[in-house]
């Protein structure tokens, strides 16, 4: 009896071991990834969430160290007119640059999708702004925007469009549009390349059929191209929004958030709150609000990506 039991249990163990080993296999591959996600992402996010409810001045530690203050950081934030300013600037910055990059990218993709000599070269050249490092892009545009010897003032002057030279990045009214132009310049190639990939996947038959029916170019764009790139368009649009929320370097390097906070997008506000006033609690609170907004768009992004996969 006991012998038989042992045998059975031995067999069971072996089965269990065999199965266990098989189940463990994926986790051997995934262990380093899971560790990184845990240590470098989960821990910091939990820490940031905690900090957003704490008194957390790094240069003025109180006797109690960092202590719980409830919603105080969020209240301070909502009472801070500079926060509202940065939200307003961010919304304008996102709206204008996303639409700008999208429209310019769409038109470029349409052009690059037609047949002509040198198309391959044009496709390669259009990518270059995307490849230029952000900081470098900003420096070049600063030189071009210069009031006294910048090429843009020179060209506008020659075209008779200026009564006096403009200090693009030092003028409260012009600085934000000037920064947005740099962003659009740097970002439209990405849209162009993605939409072009979408356009290339549209079946030639559709165009041939339209040709036979005598459709005009505009009709082809309206009834074939636009519906054909719908899913990639949605993904590109949402990616642009998500990335622009995170954007920092262009506005910061160009104008340091100034003049008079005219270019102070939310990321600059957070960076300055943390590293200029050292109020890490308030900076974390602003960061958490930004994360929530990002996650809303991410939700739609996933929905769009999944829909795209189902279509295949």
């Amino acid at each position: 009896m006991s012998e038989r039991f042992q045998e059975v249990s031995g067999k069971l163990d072996m089965n269990k071991n065999g199965k266990l080993k098989k189940n463990m296999e994926p986790y051997l591959f995934l262990a380093p990834l899971l560790l990184i996600l845990l240590v470098f992402l989960l821990v910091p996010i939990v820490k940031a969430a905690a900090m957003s409810f704490q008194y957390y001045y790094i240069v003025r530690p109180s006797a109690d160290g960092h202590y719980f203050v409830g919603l105080e950081n969020y209240q301070n934030l909502l009472a801070d007119e500079n926060f509202y300013n940065s939200v307003k600037v961010t919304v304008i910055y996102i709206l204008v640059t996303v639409i700008g990059r999208y429209v310019l990218g769409f038109l470029s993709a349409l052009l690059l999708n037609t047949q002509f000599k040198g198309r391959g070269l044009a496709r390669a050249l259009v990518i270059i702004p995307w490849a230029v490092p952000e900081v470098v892009a900003c420096l070049v545009w600063m030189l071009m925007y210069d009031r006294d010897y910048g090429i843009i003032n020179f060209l506008l002057n020659n075209a008779g469009m200026l009564s006096q030279n403009i200090a693009f990045l030092q003028d409260v009214k012009v600085a934000l549009p000037a920064a947005m132009v740099v962003n659009i310049w740097k970002g439209f190639p990405f849209v162009a390349i993605m939409l072009l990939a979408g356009m290339q996947s549209i079946s030639e038959d559709l165009f041939e059929a339209a040709e036979i029916d005598g459709a005009s170019w505009i009709q082809k764009v309206r009834y074939i191209v636009i519906p054909g790139i719908k899913s990639v368009s949605t993904v590109v649009f949402l990616l642009l929004v998500i990335w622009t929320i995170k954007d920092y370097a262009i506005a910061y390097v160009l104008a340091k958030g100034g003049p008079s906070r005219a270019t102070e997008i939310l990321t600059i506000f957070i960076q300055q709150t943390a590293f200029k006033t050292f109020d890490f609690g308030k900076a974390a609170a602003a960061g958490m609000l930004m994360l929530l907004v990002s996650l809303v768009f991410t939700f739609f992004y996933f929905k769009a990506v999944n829909r795209g996969e189902e279509d295949v």
Binding site: F29, L111, I151, A249, F297
Partner: protein, 280 residues
């Protein structure tokens, strides 16, 4: 027939305009980097340098002061970008393979987490990471900066590698298994050699990220000697606002390697980014 010809002409003209818009700042940077200062400060700018000079480039390599050291910054950038690449790739290759090949509990959730981490704002992560790194004495160190970069390169590289593994037929592995190869041997001798193009482009992507990054580098690295190229070159603008020739020479040196990599990589980058959104 006539309208088609005009249509074609309009297309080409518009394409040229778009290309000029895209390229002009890049060409202006190249052109300025070879100009003398007197030519740069001329109210009537010239497109092709009248007396081309390489003094900007020479300055970049020979100037060494307590606050300016291009060679040191370049070495730091290479070091940080290289370590970021190696570290991210080891994790991304294993993780990407795991997600691609196995159906395990939590696979869907893990995929979502990996994708979501790509949208986490750096400005948010920076705050707790600054405190955590401070506790481990990693602030203002290249290792610390590399670890911060890993937070956003690992998820993206994992996703790209998953895509590359997905495209390798599973039947090849099954054949090797029948021949008696174990999981890891099969992975190392059958799968990895087939993903070399994927490994290269994903690795270069991680490298470019580490090479270009500015937010973390400017917030974490306080001493001049530890700066990376983007931080160094951006500071140069503030300090020596006048020497545009040298500044543009430095910009060219930073940009050229990335532009070359990008042109070589564009197809794979697009593939990785669309993540199934563009129908093939």
């Amino acid at each position: 027939m006539k309208t088609r010809k005009t249509g074609k002409a309009i297309t080409i003209i518009l394409t040229i305009i778009v290309c000029i818009f895209a390229l002009f700042p890049f060409i202006w940077m190249l052109s300025t980097s070879f100009k003398t200062n007197s030519e740069i400060y001329n109210a009537a700018p010239s497109f092709i340098p009248k007396e081309p000079t390489a003094s900007g480039y020479i300055n970049m390599f020979t100037t060494e002061t307590s606050t300016f050291n291009f060679k040191q910054w370049a070495a730091n950038s290479v070091f940080v970008a290289f370590l970021t690449t190696v570290f991210s790739m080891i994790i991304a290759v294993l993780g990407g393979y795991g997600i691609s090949r196995y159906r395990f509990r939590g696979r869907g959730a893990l995929s979502y987490v990996v994708l979501t981490t790509q949208v986490l704002p750096g400005s948010l992560l920076m705050i707790p990471l600054y405190i955590i790194m401070g506790n481990f004495n990693l602030l203002d160190t290249k290792t610390g900066l590399m670890l911060a970069y890993v937070t956003f390169t690992v998820p993206f590289c994992t996703w790209m590698m998953k895509g590359f593994f997905d495209s390798i037929p599973i039947s090849l592995e099954e054949a090797a298994r029948v021949d008696g190869a174990g999981t890891f041997r099969c992975f190392a001798t059958v799968v990895l050699p087939l993903t070399v193009p994927g490994l290269v482009s994903t690795g270069l992507f991680a490298f470019i990220n580490g090479w270009n990054e500015y937010l973390f580098a400017s917030s974490f690295m306080q001493s001049y000697g530890n700066w990376t190229l983007p931080v160094g070159i951006a500071s140069f603008k503030g300090q020596y606002a006048t020497d545009w020739g040298t500044l543009m020479a430095g910009s060219v040196l930073i940009t050229i390697p990335v532009v070359i990599l990008f042109l070589g990589l564009q197809k794979h980058l697009v593939g990785g980014m669309t993540a199934g959104a563009v129908k093939q």
